[in-house]
Amino acid sequence: MKIAFTTKGTEWNSPMDARFGRTEFIVIYDEETNTLSSFDNRAIENEAHGAGTATSKKLFELKPDVLITGNGPGQNAATVLKKLNVKIFGGAGEMTMKEAYEAYQSSDLAML
């Protein structure tokens, strides 16, 4: 399974970013190879409009099976993610990435 996180950093101890469209980083954890890879999304700060669609396009290219985030994507982003067939879990906006992963594993996150 490839799991994507919206985060404010690139390590297990980094805090999650509650936002989807304007998240600072997208981190991918590959459970099979036990590796982390990250995508720097901070350029999104310069976009006046359409942050949600731009970020979901990135996610589309990264092709995760699961997305763990905070408040959940807005309408437009949700439409794209539907195409991706990714399972979305929310409510992890206040955690670190590690805590979010553990909460996901013990089914403590709400599926959106």
Binding site: A18, R19, R22, N46, E47, A48, H49, A51, N71, G72
Partner: protein
């Protein structure tokens, strides 16, 4: 750290006065972000001393280099915003009409059009009389508020909050139901909806809550001018019950808000007033609700 956003669909409900009061009560425990950039008024109550100021750029603007322009008029032909016209035999861009779509440079045969970043205003970090810091912005005239500017103000506020290790970020949210208010809500822990007991108040509360619901953020509601109309008040209460929104407080129709405003004060500074007591209680309830979130 809890991010609390205060919004109201409609103007004039007392949202900014209430947010400023919370900012006074929270003092050094909070960083304040004024995201109501269209009518950024909180600084009038918080007496900020700006410690940092920066220009803010949002969107783009087409600029024609007259040395390169061959006056062929193709740009004006493709522009759907009627932003390009001829003055003194030169094609020029009207910055108010230009939407920044970037179509014209793509058709210009002389490569004479560049898209430039558009200055939309300035943003500030200030020290306030409540012994906290406030991030606020001022738009240039005719400039449009955007999700980007709101995100910028909130990001700066968050960075400050982290640096100072404060408990709360208090966000005075944008009006309406468009992109800016969505950006105000994004990432929030709790939303305070401020409405009033009028038909317009109820109508706009319902419209704006449709958005809050989409973001799945826990919400509470303060009904200002609660005693103006009993029937509408009942309707608001049943709407809150139906949507499972916490009814935080009723505030009566009272001149104290205006009197405080005229004196450049928040209502909680007029300590003996009934309204001040109610706003204080409301803040205590919000703090409690945010402990359990």
């Amino acid at each position: 750290m809890k991010e609390i956003v205060i919004i109201s669909g409609k103007g004039g409900t007392g949202k900014t006065s209430i947010t400023a009061s919370f900012a006074m009560l929270a003092g050094a425990e909070a960083v304040v972000a004024d995201c109501d950039v269209d009518a950024a008024d909180m600084h009038l109550l918080m007496q900020p001393n700006s410690v940092k100021e920066e220009s803010f750029y949002s969107g783009q603007l087409a600029v024609i280099d007259q040395d390169k322009c061959i006056q062929c008029g193709q740009c004006a032909q493709v522009c759907r915003f009627d932003a390009i016209s001829v003055h003194d035999d030169c094609h020029v861009v009207n910055p108010v009409s230009c939407d920044g779509c970037g179509y014209c440079p793509r058709v210009c045969p002389a490569d004479a059009i560049k898209m430039e970043e558009r200055k939309a205003g300035s943003w500030y970090i200030s020290e306030t009389k409540a012994n906290n810091r406030m991030v606020h912005a001022a738009l240039d005239i005719g400039a449009e508020n955007s999700g980007k500017l709101v995100a910028k103000v909130k990001n700066e506020a968050k960075a400050l909050a982290k640096q100072q290790n404060v408990r709360y970020i208090l966000v005075d949210g944008s009006p309406g139901i468009g992109c800016p208010v969505q950006s105000s809500l994004s990432g929030a822990n709790f939303v305070v909806l401020v409405t009033e007991s009028t038909l317009s108040g109820l109508h706009d509360l319902q419209r704006v809550y449709a958005l809050v619901k989409k973001f799945r953020i826990k919400a509470g509601c303060i009904i200002n001018k609660a005693d103006l109309n009993e029937m509408v008040h009942e309707q608001i209460l049943s709407f809150l019950a139906m949507e499972n929104i916490h009814h935080i407080a009723d505030i009566p129709f009272d001149r104290t808000f205006t009197d405080a405003l005229v004196a450049g004060k928040t209502v909680v500074e007029l300590e003996s007033s009934l309204v001040a007591q109610q706003v204080k209680r409301a803040w205590e309830i919000i703090k409690d609700l945010n402990q359990s979130v």
